[in-house]
Amino acid sequence: MSVAETRTERSAGWNRPPAVEPEGEGELLEVAMGPHHPSTHGVFRMDVSLDGERVVRLKPVFGYLHRNHEKIAEGVAYLASMPYTDRLDYFCSLTNNWAYALAVEKLAGQEVPARAEYIRVILAELTRIQNHASTIGFLLQEMGASGTPLMYAFREREKILDLFESLTGSRMMCNYMRFGGCRVDLSSAWIEATKKVVAGLPAFVDEFEALLTGNEILMARCQGVGVLKPDLAVNAGISGPMLRASGVNYDLRKVDHYGIYDRFQFRVPLGDHGDIYDRYMVRVLEMRESIGILNQALQDIPLGPIMDAKAKLRGFRPKPGEAYGRIEAPKGELGFYLISDGGPNPYRYRVRPPSLINLTVLEDMCLGHNVADVVLIFGSVDIVLGEVDR
C-alpha cells in the first residue's frame, strides 16, 4: 500500500484520528500483529502500517474469541446465564456476576439485603485489586520485564483466589451472585482469613511501587506515550481507569450510587497527562483505595439474610420491559441490557463490554509512535479478549 492510499481512506471518515505524515517516499510496511503473538493478551490482531518504525495506520481486528455469549443467553433461562458471565472477563468473574445481577434486579424490581451488599462490595474490591495487580504485571511483561513483576502480582493473586475458592468453590469461575442476593453466606473464619490477606496488601503495593514506580526505564518507556485527551476519551465512551487517567472524574461507584458505595470513604484517583504512566499510576492508587474500602466493609458487615425472601431460583419470569444496569468493573463500565418479553429467557441480552469500547481509540493513541510502543499502549488499555469478543 502506498502513502497516498492511506490518506484518502482517512479523509473519507469523520472525526477519525489525525493523519500522520509519513517521512520520505518509500512504500509502507504492513505488519499483522496477531492473532497469535507473544504478548499475553490473547487472540487479538492489529494490522499495522509502518513507515520505518513509525506507525501511520493501525486497524484492530476482533472476533477471534467470539463465543456467542449473547446468542446462547437468549436461549437459556436467566439463571443459566450467570455462569456464562464468569467467562466474559475471566479475571473478574465476581464483578461480572454483580453487573448481571444488578441488571436483572432492575428489571424485576428486586431488593438486595444489606449483608449481601456488603459481601458484594468485599468481593468486588478484592477482584479489583487482583485485576489491577495482574494488569500491571502483564504490562511490564510486555515492556520486557519478563517474569518478575508478573510473578509478584500472581503471588498476591493466588492469595485472593484462595479466598474466592474457599467461599465460592472455584478459583476463577465463581458463579456466586444471585438475583436478589448471594449464594452462600460468609463464615467468620472466612472474614478472619480475608482480614489477614487484606492486612498484607499494603505491603504488597509498597513492594510493587518500590519495584516499578521510580524505575527510569519504565518512566522512559511510558511517560508521554499513548496520550489520550479527555474530550476524546469522553466522546469515545472510554471508561474505567483509562478514562480517569485522562483526568475525567467519572467513577460509577460515585456517580450511580449503586450498591452501598455511598457508605464508604474513598477517593477517585485521577491522572493529568493521560499517558501509559498515568494509567499505571491510577491503577496503583485504585488498589490502595480498594484496600481502604475493604477495611471499612470488613469492619461494618452486618448480620442478616443474604437473599431477598421473594427471590426464587427456578421459574423466574420477569414482567415484560427492559433494563440497563451498569457497574464500575475493574476494566471500566460493564453494563447489561436486558429485554424481557415475559418468558423464562431474555428476549434480548446485551453486554456492554468496557474492553471493546476502550479499544476504540487504540489507533489514535498509537499513531506516530514506534512499533515497540504499540504493544505497550495496547497493554495499558487493560483488556480481556473474552469480554472484547464475547
Binding site: G42, G63, L65, R67, I72, R87, F154, R171
Partner: protein, 220 residues
C-alpha cells in the same frame, strides 16, 4: 536384556543400566517446551501454572516459546472459535516434530459450554490429533501438571521402532493437516476426515450412548 528387578538392584548399587530407548525418551520427556499460546480463560490458569506457586519448570517445561518452530507442545488453552481455528491448525503445522497437543479445558475438547454457539468449534480434535484431554472449566493448575505428567508417561512409553513409534520416526506418518477455509456459513470442511472419527459408532464401546442409543436400554 536386563530385567527390571535387576536394573533397580543395580541402580541401588550406583550402576545405571539403560537402553537407548529409555535414555532417548527420558531426554525427550524432560524438555518438552510448550508454545506460548493462550486462547481464553484456561490460558490464565496456564500462566498461573508457570508462576511461582505451581512452577511448571520443575517438569522441564519452563521455556514457553513464542515461536511454533521452537516448541514441542501446543497447549490449546481455551475456546477455539471458527475464526481462530485456521490459525491454530496453521500453528500446529508450523511446529516441528516431535509435537504433542494438550486440549486444556472443556472448550478445547468439545466446545464446552459454548458448543451451541455459531462461531465455536466443537473440539480442536476435529482438525488436529490431540494427545491428552483435561476436562474442567477451567482445570486447576494442578490438573494441567497432572496432564503434563500423563503426556510424559505417554512419551516414555513410545517405542523407537515398529508399531506405535512417534511420528517423526515414521516416514509415512502425516505431520501436517489441511487448514480449513472460512466459508460463507461455516468452516470448510467442517472437520478433517482423517482425524475426526465421523463414524461415531466406530469409536469404542460407548457408541450406544449416542442419540441413537436412546432406545437401547441399559443393563441394570
Amino acid at each position: 536384556m536386563v530385567d527390571n528387578e535387576l536394573k533397580i538392584e543395580l541402580g541401588k548399587q550406583g550402576i545405571l543400566v539403560t537402553t537407548i530407548e529409555e535414555l532417548y525418551n527420558w531426554g525427550r520427556r524432560s524438555s518438552v517446551w510448550p508454545m506460548q499460546f493462550g486462547l481464553a480463560c484456561c490460558a490464565i490458569e496456564m500462566i498461573a501454572t508457570t508462576m511461582a506457586r505451581y512452577d511448571l519448570a520443575r517438569f522441564g517445561a519452563e521455556v514457553f516459546r513464542p515461536s511454533p518452530r521452537q516448541a514441542d507442545l501446543m497447549i490449546v488453552s481455551g475456546t477455539v472459535t471458527k475464526k481462530m481455528a485456521p490459525q491454530v491448525v496453521r500453528l500446529y503445522n508450523q511446529m516441528a516434530e516431535p509435537k504433542y497437543v494438550i486440549a486444556m479445558g472443556a472448550c478445547a475438547i468439545s466446545g464446552g459450554p459454548f458448543k451451541q454457539g455459531y462461531n465455536v468449534l466443537k473440539g480442536i480434535d476435529r482438525y488436529i490429533p490431540v494427545d491428552v484431554h483435561i476436562p474442567g472449566c477451567p482445570p486447576r493448575p494442578e490438573a494441567l501438571i497432572q496432564a503434563f505428567m500423563t503426556l510424559q508417561k505417554k512419551i516414555d512409553g513410545q517405542p523407537l521402532t515398529g508399531e506405535g513409534r512417534p511420528r517423526f520416526l515414521d516416514a509415512d506418518a502425516q505431520c501436517e493437516f489441511p487448514v480449513p477455509e472460512q466459508g460463507a456459513h461455516d468452516l470448510e470442511p467442517p472437520s478433517n476426515q482423517g482425524v475426526w472419527p465421523v463414524e461415531i459408532q466406530g469409536v469404542g464401546s460407548r457408541e450406544r450412548r449416542d442419540i441413537d442409543g436412546r432406545q437401547v436400554s441399559t443393563d441394570h
